[in-house]
Amino acid sequence: MAGKKILLIEDEELIIRLLGRKLASIGYDVSLAMDGEEGLKKMKENKPDLILLDIIMPRKGGFDVMEAMKKDPQLTGVPVIIISNSGQPLELDKAKRLGAVDWLVKTEFDPKEVVEKIKKYIG
């Protein structure tokens, strides 16, 4: 796992700091983005191995980010795990269609469990 690159796109400062710290402490190479646009820019720059993506964010939301990724052949294969405060079936369906590999509702998980999920996809 060491050195694997994770991009965390999330607008809630506390969450991004906590999760960023947790992932870094394990040995991942973590980059952070506070909204969708910044996230897209960063994923083009440093080609992450996995993306953690929030849905409701300013400027560009998670669904828009995934749509943009679908159009870019360089980004299509990158696994995306959604981290959101919601998890209604309609949203889950949409995320699956757009290529997300998993969905976590933040209140149902804690950082440790998020790490376990990540390990499932990139070891």
């Binding site: 809630e12 506390l14 906590l18 999760l19 209604q88 079936p89 933040k106 209140t107 950082p111 440790k112």
Partner: protein, 457 residues
């Protein structure tokens, strides 16, 4: 005719007229020539006693004759007058009757017009069928609601309900009530996002029995819009609540896990309790969110074909830790043979089973047992969750599925709770076309049952 005069008029007896009418006066100007043989052709020429008697008698007859014919004419006139009067009376009576009839007809017409006006301008859509399910009338709201024209509707008169299928606009209605009207009560008919009706069918009864069927389409679009707005509001509010609460959860978790540096035992104790309070808050918000999601209805149901016993099996395995803590046992009797698959929204159905199991865990004292069984019945799969818990108080059993309701003994045992679990459970089961019920005895335990209809082939 009751005034029949005495017909025996030739014997010289006095005239009697029933009713004591006076005898008509003799007609004095009648002259008869007694020598005229033609008046008595059979008389012998020679006079004798017989001849004289005959002559006297003839004369008498002749005297009587004018009296008789005078009376007859008089009587006839009287009778005619009577008849005329009678006819006149009859005519008047008939005219009166006709007038009354006309009046009644007019009144009936007025009543009919009034009724038609009410039906036409009624705020709900109305369709009336006769006792043989033949179409009779529909009002203008029906035209508007189903996008059908007056001409199309008129063309349907006398046709059976099934004919409605031929008109495009009526198809959703026929899908709902069926080609033969069945008893329908407040079924929702979704035409578009902003046009929703509640359809009921009503048998129209008279003293002689069924005279027809009335279909009522009540417009509930406005209520639905308000409901949707309310749901959206609650949903957004709940989302807003979840964001800070997950930040709190994650922070506390990381501090407790030592990710943010060492803490003292005293600090750990406080933070641990804070974490638990926060978890309770999360549960409350989750319940709130579930209510809004279920009220939002059909769009959220993602139906897939699954084996329900497998869903239950994976779910039951989640409770190891809590069962150990509460010193309870939980058994799932997996059926020997594979059951027929069911078409369900797996996430929602899991919520149903989880709600029932978690209630059993919450309200069963230490040492108790919870059993989950599943079996195939005629109407579908039947799942039962049986506990040896405190039971539901008899006087509160009818309210157990009501929103926000919590049993008095349940509150005593477990102060936390929203009273939404069983409400949500019932909604989910019923949206799947199943039923939910229970059997309970206070102090002994409760068994909750629910059914899931088998997938149509």
């Amino acid at each position: 005719m009751t005034k029949e005069p005495d017909k025996n008029t030739n014997n010289g007896a006095p005239f009697t007229v029933a009713g004591g009418m006076p005898r008509p006066r003799a007609f004095s100007s009648l002259n008869i020539n007694l020598a005229d043989k033609s008046l008595a052709p059979g008389l012998p020429k020679e006079g004798n006693k017989e001849v004289v008697a005959a002559a006297k008698s003839a004369v008498k007859d002749f005297h009587e004759m004018p009296k008789s014919s005078e009376w007859q004419t008089d009587e006839r006139t009287r009778q005619l007058r009577e008849q005329v009067k009678f006819s006149e009376d009859s005519r008047v009576a008939l005219m009166n009757m006709l007038e009354d009839m006309e009046d009644l007809r007019r009144r009936a017409e007025e009543e009919k017009e009034k009724t038609l006006a009410i039906i036409t301008n009624f705020a709900d859509g109305l369709i009336l069928f006769d006792a043989n399910d033949r179409f009779m009338l529909a009002n203008s709201l029906i035209e508007a609601a189903f996008g059908v024209t007056r001409e199309e509707i008129r063309g349907l008169i006398g046709k059976k309900i099934a004919a409605f299928q031929l008109i495009n606009g009526f198809r959703p209605l026929i899908d709902l009530i069926g080609p033969v009207i069945t008893e329908v009560s407040r079924k929702e008919l979704y035409i578009s996002e902003n046009e929703i009706y509640e359809v009921s069918s009503l048998e129209v009864q008279s003293g002689r029995g069924k005279v027809g069927t009335l279909i009522i389409a009540h417009d509930i679009s406005r209520e639905k819009i308000v409901e949707r707005m309310k749901t959206e509001f609650v949903s957004i509010a709940a989302h807003q609540l979840r964001t800070p609460i997950s930040a709190i959860k994650w922070t506390l978790r990381m501090i407790l896990d030592g990710d943010l540096g060492p803490i003292t035992e005293d600090q750990r104790d406080f933070l641990d309790k804070t974490y638990k309070s926060n978890e309770r808050m999360i549960n409350l918000i989750n319940d709130l969110l579930n209510v809004t999601r279920i009220e939002e209805g059909r769009h959220l149901y993602n139906l897939v074909l699954v084996n329900l016993e497998e869903t239950i099996e994976t779910l039951v395995a989640n409770y190891g830790q809590i069962l150990e803590q509460k010193k309870l046992t939980l058994d799932f009797e997996k059926p020997a043979a594979k059951l027929a698959p069911v078409k369900i929204d797996v996430e929602k159905m899991k919520l149903v089973i989880a709600n029932l199991i978690e209630n059993a865990i919450k309200y069963t004292p230490a040492g108790g047992n919870i059993r989950v069984t599943i079996s195939q019945k005629a109407e579908g799969l039947e799942v039962a969750v049986k506990d040896s818990g405190m039971g539901i108080m008899k006087d509160q059993q009818s309210r157990i599925f009501t929103k926000y309701f919590r049993g008095a003994n349940a509150i005593k045992m477990e102060t936390e709770g929203t009273g939404l679990g069983l409400f949500i459970t019932k909604n989910i089961v019923e949206t799947h076309g199943g039923k939910v019920w229970f059997a309970s005895e206070e102090g002994k335990g409760t068994t909750f049952f629910f059914t899931v209809p088998l997938a149509a082939h």
